[in-house]
């Protein structure tokens, strides 16, 4: 492997990680943008999403890495898995918002954030007690197609993870920018009171943002499973923490920021694995986060002067 090929391969590795983090970061950023709430339950909605997806695929007869699909069956299976998973996690998100967070909407201080930590605990333990703590083999129906650039390899799943991430991101951007509901969301993010007075149904908008954010977490869970072929109850914390860091790094509340942050963190992780050692990756990621926040408190692309007063 030449240095150039090595660099290319690590770039691909980093970008793939980045896609995963970006997608997960979108949900954080969306909810934060609307409610200024750091939603720790997102970590484990993602994890639950992966398990739901695992179940859905199993119901369709896909278990382990034995069955490989191509053509229309593959598309249908993947579509069904996405729709079911995203809808289920979306409804979990709506449930969390409606039952637990709405009563706290008027409460100032960290109460809502702390509550989401509790919800995260509960989701984690539902899976731990109900399914178990072992690593579960996740179905992989994707044919093993790849393209070679020298010794560097680009696999079908690499392309797929990016394809899906970009589609979801464009869809989200379109939705937020151009639809009536999306405009309502943006208005609510700016000033919930004013939005309410202008006839925006703030409750619906907040619920919707939770639905979309959690559905995206579910989608990330499914993609994670397809890409890494496993699901495990503790997968939420590590991936979620990095995704969340990505959102903050890029500027929380900012959709392109989440993407930028995710890609940066993916590249940092791949780079530190190559140069220093993967065990230090978290140290490097958080050090960079602290440095960025000291000099740009709102993140790389965030709104400046984010002082709540």
């Amino acid at each position: 492997m030449t240095t150039g090929e090595l660099f290319l391969q690590q770039l691909i590795n980093g970008l793939n990680l980045g896609a995963m983090y970006s997608l997960l970061a979108l949900g954080f950023t969306l909810v934060y943008g609307i409610m200024e709430l750091i939603n720790f339950s997102h970590f484990n909605v993602f994890m639950v999403g992966a398990f739901i997806a695992l179940g859905v695929l199993r119901l369709m007869g896909l278990d382990g890495q034995i069955v490989i699909l191509t053509g229309l069956p593959l598309v249908v299976v993947i579509l069904v898995a996405f729709v079911v998973t995203m809808f289920s996690t979306g409804m979990i998100g709506v449930g969390i918002e409606r039952l637990l967070l709405r009563p706290l909407r008027a409460v100032t201080g960290p109460a809502a954030m702390i509550l989401t930590i509790g919800v995260s605990y509960i989701l984690f333990n539902i899976i731990l007690i109900g399914v178990g703590g072992d690593t579960r083999n996740f179905a992989n129906p994707l044919p093993s197609v790849s393209w070679h650039f020298g010794e560097a390899t680009l696999r079908l799943r690499d392309v797929l993870i990016w394809g899906i991430t970009i589609v979801l991101m464009l869809g989200l951007t379109y939705f937020v920018q151009f639809t009536k509901l999306g405009k309502g969301m943006r208005a609510t993010a700016q000033d919930p009171e004013a939005a309410r007075m202008m006839g925006v149904e703030v409750d619906n908008v907040v619920g919707l943002s939770f639905f979309i954010g959690s559905a995206l977490a579910g989608a990330s869970g499914l993609i994670f499973g397809l890409y890494y072929n496993y699901a495990k109850v503790d997968m939420g914390f590590s991936a979620g923490l990095r995704a969340f860091t990505a959102a903050v790094l890029g500027g929380i509340g900012n959709v392109p920021g989440a993407m930028l942050g995710g890609v940066l963190i993916g590249l940092i992780e791949a780079g530190s694995s190559q140069l220093i050692g993967q065990a230090w990756a978290d140290v490097i990621i958080f050090s960079i986060l602290v440095i960025v926040l000291v000099f740009r408190p709102a993140g790389l692309l965030g709104r400046q002067a984010p002082n709540k007063s």
Binding site: L104, P110, Y121, F237, A279, V290
Partner: protein, 684 residues
Amino acid sequence: MAVTDILARPFASWSQQKRQGWATILVAVAFAIYPFLTDDDSNIDTIANAMSYATLALGLNIVVGFAGLLDLGYAAFFAIGAYYYGIFTAYQVMPPWSSGWEPLAAVGLVEKINQGGGDLVHFTLSFWLALPTGALVAGLFGVLFGAPTLRLRGDYLAIVTLGFGEIVPIVARNADSITNGAAGLNGVKGPALPAIKALGFEGYSFGVNATPYYYVGMVLVAILIFSSIRLRDSRIGRAWMAIREDETAASAMGINLRNFKLLAFAIGASFSGFTGVYFVSKLQVATPEMFNFSVSSMLIVMVVLGGMGSVWGVVVGAALLQLLQTWILPRSTDVIRAIGESVGSDFLMAADLVQWTQMFFGIIIVVMMLFRREGLIPATRAQPKLDLEEQQADVKRGGFVNVDRIEKWNPGTGNALEIKDVTVRFGGLVALNKVSLTIPAGGVIAVIGPNGSGKSTLFNAITGLVPSEGSIKFEGHELIGLRPDEVLAAGVARTFQNIRLFPKLTVLENVLIGQHCRLKTLPFGAIFRPPAARAEEQGALRKALDILGLFGNRLSPRANHTVAGLSYANRRRVEISRALASRPRILLLDEPTAGMNPNETLELAEQIGELNAMGLTILIIEHKLDVVTRLANRVTVLDHGDVIAEGTADEVQRNEEVLTAYLGRAHRAKIEAQDAAAKENANG
């Protein structure tokens, strides 16, 4: 509360303080004799473990409960304390021996050992020395971790502290040469009491017997409860709570945000460092996994359950959660299984509630946040009820009472405040455009203008809350570039248009916070209360009561009520009292009578006049023209960030531009037409 009420009934004649004192002594004695009542070392050990969690919760309570800084990586400091002691007693870091180590060997900090090969240095840090120094080391790390995060808003702080909480165990795991990595430190020493020959005391090594650790833990808990309470009831605790309630107001009331947040981080961390030393000496093992996120989040659960900011609450929270894990859940499991056995239910026989512990944590958090955010034992004390006499006392309108208890001001001569060409921009918007204004010493100047004209922005610029260009000189000193707390210390105090008191604190505490910049007590003084600190605190209390006394029986009987429960007018009065408490040389009042009825307005106007008569210079924003007319020597009118008129109240009322600004052009035309008609009539 109900249970404690019933328990307290027979002792109703005692003062609350006396009851609490005796209850504390009773609990302490019960804990002290417990080891004599059990022959099971593990029960003693379990309680000793619970004690270390209680001390951690107390430390986290300083950061989260008092100062309101959500720290999700608190276990990092625990790890630092533990590894500090561990590294300096274990057989891990052993540099080669040289004669340079001899002085340290003489005082017992190191010893020379030989494991085959050359002579090596083995650190033998004494446990008793490690406790305070461990606290210090962890405190330093608290400052180090806190410093870059303090500029961040609360949410960001949470994520960055979470990151630090991850980093510390990773470093412990990967810095093998110092920490022995994942395998953990070997040979961490237990504490020992040194021999005292004169008394015939042979010395005592704690070894693995749980009882001595139990007593050390008990003393630690006592020390930290004591310190927490002393800090809470001091200038420092009040400053933290002010920051928690409202950062901007805290800053405007003279609290240096950076220093006091760092202090909270440092003291919180030092509690944890203290505990780390204790914990690792008891366990004699330190591994990186002992300090992961579960520990930090468990501590959050303890604080949430007990009550954020409540010292006794978090101790009870820690105790309850330990009890839940070690006793309630295992016992309930046994009971459920016994039931299952008797009814022949496989499901019940297979139950294991211990597996559900974390689920219960989650449920506890959710339930507490939804239904009892203040925790089981809330930090806010019960409000003393007004007695009948106080309730029915005739609240009479009038000026200040007992004015003689307050020091008069000496306004001096010349100009108190000289504002020159001050410009404030928000992005592209110019909120103030080269505004100039002079306030003579001892005068009352009013600023008026329509909404959005820049009046409050002017106040914010003077008090350092928004950055500005130009020059603002107070008694010859430039204010621009100073922080809000420095501006207050210089003698410029203010109130806010939308009242920014600290709602969960009492009237008295609010006024005491006003005195913050005039008091000097530091953590040492707050905890140990040497005579000087005690005198200062008593002086501050007296002064606060005197200031409240100015408003007669409107505020004095309510001194121990939380501000949130006061009437609107009383809150205005408290805010003015708080500003006066800082002993300002000029007082900036932002619409002090807004929302008051005509009677109250008149009363306050009289009182403001009285303050001025006592020598206090006043700058006031006011909409009510009768107040302005009554009080102000001169009036400045702002519109769209420009000064459009200046003069006496009468003069500006006739100023055409002012009329336009206030009433709009059409209205002005109407008035002009009326004026013209009147003139014609007069002429005709």
